[in-house]
């Protein structure tokens, strides 16, 4: 199982019945593949649909039904079209139960940086600042390091996305919860030791008692979405 699949499967366990969930493009979008069938959720794409479905079969694409990354999608029964004011009204207004985003850095305060690398890459924040400021739960789903460099750092050197503490950090090596007491190491990745997590993390980790290995959601019931 590759690193991204581990992360997506672990995050999938955070999704609860009845939630409205926004998955960022890339790695976070893989989470939808690992939900258990009993979990009934609505996915939001911030460009304008609640009730995002899987990819359409080839030839069945609707050019006016896409996700926030511009990919063709379908809509589930009970879906709703929304404009950008309603979409971000839901996000900012606390109606979004969970957002899963990628990250460039997360720091000891639980602050996320994920929208620009000054002088090198300036994609813009898109909806990320609203999502981190407004969603009830903010989950950062990212690889633990970038080409060997830790992404969990004492203080973000990159511009922040928000000064709100994220709810949970899920990587292939660990599940970490930012708290008042610091970054709590809650779980380790499959076959990963606490020391290995520490070595790959630049910020200090708080470890209380035995740290269990992370559980992972099962394989998807159907073909991948």
């Amino acid at each position: 199982m590759d690193a991204k699949e581990i992360i997506a499967r672990r995050v999938a366990l955070e999704v609860r019945d009845g939630m409205l969930v926004n998955l960022g493009i890339g790695l976070p979008s893989m989470v939808a593949n690992y939900l258990t069938p009993e979990v009934d959720v609505f996915f939001q794409a911030e460009n304008g649909v609640i009730g995002l479905g899987s990819r359409p079969p080839e030839g069945m694409e609707d050019p006016e039904l896409t996700d926030a990354g511009g990919a063709f999608v379908t809509a589930v029964p009970g879906a709703a079209s929304i404009d950008s004011a309603m979409s971000f009204g839901l996000i900012r207004g606390g109606h979004l139960d969970m957002t899963v985003l990628g990250g460039l850095q997360v720091d000891a305060r639980g602050y996320l940086a994920n929208w620009m690398v000054p002088g090198r890459m300036v994609p813009g924040m898109g909806g990320a600042m609203d999502l981190v400021a407004g969603a009830r739960r903010v989950i950062v789903a990212m690889l633990h390091t970038a080409r060997g460099t830790p992404k969990i750092v004492p203080e973000c050197s990159l511009p922040l996305t928000a000064v709100r503490r994220v709810s949970l950090i899920v990587t292939e090596l660990a599940v970490i919860e930012p708290t008042d007491a610091g970054l709590m190491l809650r779980e380790t990745g499959p076959g990963v030791t606490v020391d290995e997590v520490r070595d790959a993390t630049a910020a200090e980790l708080v470890i209380a008692g035995d740290v269990p290995e992370m559980l992972l959601a099962g394989v998807p019931p159907g073909p991948p979405a």
């Binding site: 511009g70 079209s81 950008s84 971000f88 994609p123 924040m125 898109g126 922040l160 996305t161």
Partner: protein, 205 residues
């Protein structure tokens, strides 16, 4: 009709729900120096991306330019001034212009680069950015269906910024896929009332 240097609201999200025929006509005519307010600059060869390539955009007020390397390159080269605005803030700023609010308070962007140069208002112990309206000279929007009065419907993720921009410009030009007789769109289905729309241009088939 649209003069050099105008401020334009242009609907669409990565080109979906953009007024492609209007954009093509502008590119063909070749005037420029525009300030473009939009969610993004799409991709090279698509929608607003064509205007970027043609060098018609002097300033872009957008939330995202990540999928258009030309915008990034021109920004770094100093050829385009780019103001990045969080997407939810951008739509509320446009809405504020449309509905006559002097501004809105949002927590989005507090403590980030977005805060720079902005007024911060503290209310009940929470800090908010005071975000001001963004009005345009022209709104160029796409719709699914219109009637001849100008009532508009939108389809799925092609809504995005279009209904909001339809309120926030001096002149609103809508590009529906088809134009129907008056009365064909039931009152409850109208998302942009005709009174807001100045001109209709049916999309080429």
């Amino acid at each position: 009709m649209i003069p050099e240097g105008a401020i334009l609201h242009i609907g669409g999200f990565m080109g979906v729900g953009s007024p492609h025929r209007l954009i093509d006509a502008l590119v063909e005519r070749g005037v420029g120096g525009f300030t473009v307010v939009a969610n993004d600059t799409a991709m090279p060869g698509t929608g607003i991306g064509k205007m970027i390539s043609a060098g018609m955009v002097a300033r872009a007020i957008v939330s995202h330019i990540g999928l258009n390397p030309e915008t990034q390159a021109k920004m770094i080269a100093g050829e385009i001034e780019v103001e990045l605005v969080p997407q939810g803030t951008l739509v509320e700023r446009i809405r504020a212009a449309g509905v006559g609010l002097g501004g809105v308070l949002t927590a989005t962007g507090i403590g980030t680069l977005v805060e720079e140069g902005k007024q911060v208002v503290e209310l009940d112990g929470r800090r908010y950015l005071l975000e001001t309206p963004i009005r345009a000279d022209f709104a160029l929007i796409a719709a699914s269906r219109a009637d001849y009065k100008g009532n508009l419907e939108y389809h799925l993720t092609a809504h995005n910024f279009n209904p909001i921009m339809a309120m926030a410009a001096d002149v609103v030009i809508a590009e529906p896929k088809e134009i129907l007789p008056v009365g064909a769109i039931p009152p409850d289905a109208v998302k942009t009332p005709a009174t807001l729309v100045d001109h209709l241009l049916e999309r080429a088939h």
